[in-house]
Symmetry: C2
Subunit: 203 residues, 2 copies
DNA sequence: ATATTAAGCGGACCGCAGTCCGTTTAGACT
DNA sequence: AGTCTAAACGGACTGCGGTCCGCTTAATAT
């Protein structure tokens, strides 16, 4: 069982993939990575991608469903690794450390993630509150935070509290702080630590 | 001095407005309100608005700059009243109450605001991190929260902490909780109260 | 009244995401 | 090899936000 649920773009459905489809998928992913590297996430258009991969536009959308879906696919490896780290990895991020320390480490890891993949993550969440808040990885983070809150003894609606904490770690918001306001990552991390430490005090 | 800074759509610039421009502005605002009432915020397109107001499309964009700008204009009265309430209004929302109580009241007022104007607010923030996070009203809320945090004695980077709290009250997020997850407004308010109460304990 | 001019106007136009549908083709079955 | 069919393909098309630029007109000066 995979941590990342099946999405368009992943070859893990019930029937095996047709060979031309597989070839086009590889071509598209390679072209997408190249274009992102060359022009930046925001400048990559779906037409450009179709052209570069030498494929029809319909094929691009058949594969990924939408621009956001494409970006999710490009993120899925990094995302899976991130999930592995906080679910199975070594403490303090993974299991074994006390919940407060895990929460702190989670925020720090998330900040590093956003520094590296933030633009992709932002593009993957654009144009749909559904994708933004209920995409499988988001739900996993949310549940993880909720679980840590419960472990720490915070029993007053941990689900909503986890939503609030998740909002703090939102890629778009953090990117905005990092770039538009020149906030150093360390300062973001310190603020996160302060926030969760105060929150979990005396539980 | 007005609380709401001058934006395209407001007639408060240096030179008085030409009469045809004034007439068209009124026609556009009326048409926009009607269309929103009839079809809902998300279904209103700029072409539709131009057509309904019997005005060229260029005029619509000259007036409001963008779809988001239009929505901000439609919100500006409600926004101004909200600001008056927490800056000059009676306690506990306005000055006179202790900071924790003012923060709690602020969140509650914000939740009511989102219940009533959330769709407009969401549309006003779409398609631009700039508009989303640095629009004048957003900056005012942010500064208000920061000030209350300082008054409460929270001196560890209150600016970033205010950003986190602001994230919790983000219209899109709250709308998603309210509608997609059927969270009752009272539950949102209770969670907010819990959050800020814990945060300001022992300062 | 007439001339001047800058603000205002309108709608053709552009780029983009996403859809539709007639055509092609991989793979299975005979 | 030949047939069949469902999956995949491609690119013209739509709808939207936003821009551009030549035309119109309100306000002012004469």
């Amino acid at each position: 069982m995979s941590l990342i649920p099946i999405r368009p773009g992943s070859p893990s459905g019930t029937q095996p993939e047709r060979s031309d489809a597989a070839r086009n998928r590889e071509r598209l992913l390679q072209a997408a990575r190249d274009l992102v590297a060359e022009h930046g996430v925001d400048a990559v258009t779906m037409d450009m991608l179709a052209c570069r991969a030498d494929v029809g536009k319909g094929t691009v959308f058949r594969r990924f469903g939408s621009r956001a879906g494409l970006m999710m696919t490009l993120l899925s490896d990094a995302e899976a690794e991130f999930q592995r780290n906080f679910i199975f990895g070594p403490p303090p991020l993974g299991p074994g450390a006390p919940p407060l320390e895990r929460l702190i480490a989670f925020g720090e890891a998330r900040i590093r993630y956003v520094e590296e993949y933030g633009e992709l993550a932002r593009a993957a969440a654009e144009h749909s509150p559904q994708n933004r808040h209920d995409a499988p990885p988001v739900v996993v983070w949310h549940r993880h935070i909720e679980m840590l809150l419960r472990e720490a003894g915070l029993d007053r609606d941990p689900w909503l509290l986890a939503l609030s904490l998740g909002a703090t770690l939102d890629p778009e918001r953090m990117l905005h702080a990092l770039h538009a306001h020149r906030v150093a990552p360390e300062r973001l991390a310190a603020s996160w630590r302060e926030l969760v430490t105060r929150l979990l005090k005396d539980c």
